[in-house]
Amino acid sequence: MKRVGFTLNGKTTTCDVEENELLLHTLRERLSIASVKEGCSIGECGTCTVLIDNEPCYACLTLTAKVEGRDVLTVEYLAHADLLHPLQESFISHGAVQCGFCTPAMLLVGYSLLLKHRQPTDEQIREAMSGNLCRCTGYVQIIEAIKDAAPVFIHSGS
């Protein structure tokens, strides 16, 4: 076992993990962050996406030891108290959610993109989410939701 310290959704976290443990396992099984999904386990579907220092990463390919001292965000970070993040509002109002299994990852990808591009084009959005599969929506309403949230995007960092 090895002790790893990192920031998870703004809170300092330490966790004892196996030497080769994957971040996906640490988050889901040790820290009860069930919003990080496991659609394929080998870096092909994107449902396990988390943000590490605001960049999307597949948690199923990331060793927990590697996030030592870094900043990890999951979708739990976005809403505060009873207030949804504008991206979440936008996903709901645009119908960007169907089965919802890809949704937490899609929200994080959108969040990360909007940190970099306050007014992304459709092409930039498509590019940003190209590593995240969705079998239900055809992506159209997700793209619209991200685009529409851009003007009201608030970097709600702590």
């Binding site: 080998i42 109002s93 119908g95 959610v97 169907q98 089965c99 498509r126 239900c136 992506y139």
Partner: protein, 717 residues
């Protein structure tokens, strides 16, 4: 108030917060993990199964075989022919043989890997053989199902044709590729009953199968639908539920299962690969005179939903056109390939690929515009279908064409390699020629809250929200007055499966009926006229027992004649037309889908935003079917080898709705889940032909195949 409105999905909040409890996320104190040992051979006798290696792994508690099954070791939606756990023989790669239960996932998987199986291999049947002369899997032969439709006289009709076009079309196995793999949890509750919560499309059916498996009455079993990460037909058959029930029954501890992606690819039923011989005759003016369709399909070793696919493709053979002379045969044959079953459209997307390509070739031969031949022959009110059904209402097919007609007429190829294609479809809502009822319950509960109890499974398609809207509109109450209670066999009556695009239409009508019952009661009690509060009405009557109102709907359809297929297979049909623009790079064979105009007759739009979501999702799946998706038995094990469309593959989508109301539907609604997908691949293929002048007779039309077609066209020139 609530119909035709873009109500936000009732389940969206939990899903954007990340708090929705998917089957993958279910956990219980002290739970065990179960995993399945599967056949690695397509056809073999099990000579010896040695589980000692599994038991040698610390933490492995039990290895379960068919011998541990107290009841029937068979299941199947339409025929009970598939073993939960193989007995002496395996018939496809991925067939379950044992269940290994361990303290945790790592232990259970390690145990499963250490099981040694001595297979006595038998030659496998890997090609469907319609002659009946080749090797057979079963003594009874290879023919699983055979359905036919006969109308008029095709020979005469062909003789009277000015043009006849005939081709053979082929499709392959398609995986549902829902993003949440099969999963669930099982436990024994305080009352000693077995509870299964899973990712599923049908709870009451699963309860029946578990009852047969364990030989315990249905009342001793409760099945609950967890939040389900996609279905598309792949969670209709029993997946993990039987193994969970068995494990819980034997160990009396909570047990969890989750298939790996590889296991999901291996075990999940597939879209049937079909070979379609299609002959179309027409007169000079474009009027269709005859259609002869001879279809054979690979159904794998077990029936699954094969019977439903077989009948449905025969019935839909002509596509949405009126044809006086029809001869359609569909035969599904047993093989040692993966089990084919239900997948979004039950065979009709494959068929649409054929009939739409055919129609374009007929139009070309006659020098007609593709849209004109469709308008000329399109089914409309008063038309007679291939099964002799007169469409008396809600037949807005031609209107869907009219919606896209302006864009079609204005189409312009902007560069070399650009092309446009049409694809059309009709689709019978609900199961074919059999009773397929739904029940619903509406209750006036505690503090005057209205509770809608439905057994309909929400698999992402939006039934929760649509059913709620129907209840709200019928009752004329506020959104906050109604609670939805869904997907629990303890609190709902059977609503049938979430399949065949049936829930909005059938469960929707049942909900409306139940709500009308409560409405009459509330009216009597003074809610509507005297402004009496729901809470007061509840308190004044609660001592008389639960205020529960039942709704039931079984669409008016009839069985079909065995010999001719004549009859009324469905009470109503959905219609759609898609127009697709592509750009093909001739040098590489790469095809990009640029834009889709999709027009659908949905009867009545309950929630336009949700319908648009279904259509965009259907377009994506259709693009996949046309251009990239191909499951190769023995090879495909991950998304690395099975491409589904990403955001970069998606076209822009414009949606148009036609509302030709269905008199038997709730507020006139029909269904859209499968229609959204069905015409899409056909329209892509026709656009490819328009773009580069090659005909595509086999799917998927992936880069290499298209490149090959373009090159062989050049060399034959």
């Amino acid at each position: 108030m609530f119909i035709g409105r873009d109500l936000d999905r009732v389940d969206a909040l939990a899903k954007v917060l990340g708090t929705a409890g998917f089957a993958h996320d279910l956990r219980m104190e002290g739970m065990l993990f179960a995993c399945v040992v599967r056949s690695t051979k397509p056809h073999a006798l099990l000579r010896d199964v040695d589980v000692s290696g599994a038991y040698a792994v610390p933490g492995v508690l039990r290895v379960v075989s068919h011998k541990d099954i107290p009841g029937q070791n068979t299941f199947g939606a339409l025929r009970k022919d598939q073993p939960f756990l193989a007995e002496s023989r395996v018939r496809y790669v991925g067939e379950p043989i044992l269940v290994v239960i361990g303290e945790n996932e790592a232990v259970a998987r390690e145990g499963a890997a250490r099981v040694r199986i001595d297979y006595g291999e038998i030659d496998a049947v890997l090609e469907p053989d319609a002659t009946g002369k080749g090797r057979q899997i079963y003594d009874t032969g290879s023919l699983m199902a055979y359905k036919k439709v006969r109308k008029g006289d095709v020979e005469k009709g062909s003789a009277a044709s000015d043009v006849v076009v005939a081709h053979t079309f082929r499709t392959t196995w398609i995986d549902h590729a829902f993003l949440e793999t099969e999963a669930g949890i099982g436990y024994v509750d305080e009352g000693g009953r077995i509870v299964i919560k899973s990712s599923t499309q049908n709870i009451h059916y699963k309860r029946v199968e578990i009852s047969r498996l364990l030989a315990i009455p249905e009342e001793r079993i409760r099945v609950v639908q967890a939040t389900t990460g996609g279905g598309f037909g792949g969670k209709l058959d029993v997946t993990c539920e039987g193994f969970l029930a068995l494990a819980v029954h034997l160990l009396k501890r909570p047990v969890f299962m989750r298939y790996t992606r590889e296991e999901s690819f291996l075990s999940n039923t597939k879209r049937h690969p079909l070979s379609i011989d299609y002959k179309t005759g027409a007169r000079k003016d474009g009027t269709l005179t005859a259609v002869k369709v001879d279809i054979t399909g690979d159904t794998g070793p077990y029936a699954s939903y094969g019977d439903a696919v077989c009948l449905r493709v025969a019935v839909h053979a002509t596509g949405p056109y009126e044809v006086p002379n029809v001869w359609a045969d569909c035969k599904l044959l047993y093989t040692n390939n993966p089990v084919s079953g239900a997948m979004r459209g039950f065979g009709v997307p494959q068929l649409a690929f054929a009939h739409e390509s055919q129609l374009d070739e007929v139009a070309e031969a006659l020098g007609m515009d593709p849209i004109d031949i469709r308008i000329r022959n399109g089914l409309k009110r008063g038309s007679v279908t291939a099964t002799g059904q007169v469409l008396s209402a809600s037949a807005g097919f031609v209107e869907t064409l009219k919606k896209i007609e302006p864009f079609w007429r204005a189409r312009q190829k902007t560069k070399k390699g650009s092309g446009f294609g049409l694809g059309c479809m009709y689709y019978g809502i609900g199961n074919t020629g059999v009773a397929n009822p739904a029940n619903a319950l509406v209750e006036l509960g505690e503090e005057g809250r209205v509770i809608l109890h439905t057994g309909a499974c929400e698999i992402g398609q939006g039934s929760d929200t649509a059913l709620l809207q129907i209840a709200l509109e019928t009752l004329g109450v506020a959104r906050s007055d109604v609670l939805l209670d869904r997907g629990d066999t303890d609190t709902s009556k059977d609503a049938g499966s979430s399949s065949a695009s049936r829930q909005t239409y059938i469960s929707g009508k049942a909900v409306q009926e139940a709500a009308l019952g409560l409405r009459a009661f509330l009216d009597e009690a003074g809610y509507y006229h005297r402004g009496r509060a729901l809470g007061d009405i509840y308190r004044a009557t609660k001592d008389k027992g639960r205020l529960l109102f039942e709704g039931f709907f079984n669409p008016p359809a009839s069985g079909l004649d065995e010999a001719t297929g004549q009859g009324i297979p469905y009470a109503t049909y959905a219609f759609a037309s898609h127009m697709t623009e592509v750009e093909v790079e001739e040098a590489t064979g790469a095809c990009r889908v640029k834009q889709v105009h999709a027009a659908h007759d949905v009867g009545k739009s309950i929630n336009p935003k949700a319908i648009r979501g279904q259509i965009c999702g259907g377009v994506a799946m259709g693009v996949g079917l046309a251009l990239m998706e191909e499951f190769i038995p023995g090879k495909t094990a991950s998304f690395d080898a099975y491409y589904i469309p990403t955001s970069l593959d998606m076209p822009r989508v414009e949606v148009f709705l036609v509302e030709d109301e269905e008199p038997t539907g709730p507020f006139g609604a029909k269904g859209v889940g499968e229609p959204a997908l069905i015409p899409q691949a056909a329209s892509v293929v026709n656009a490819v032909t328009d773009a580069v002048g090659v005909h595509v007779y086999e799917l998927p039309c992936h880069v290499e195949r298209l490149k090959g077609l373009i090159e062989s066209k050049k060399t034959t020139k």
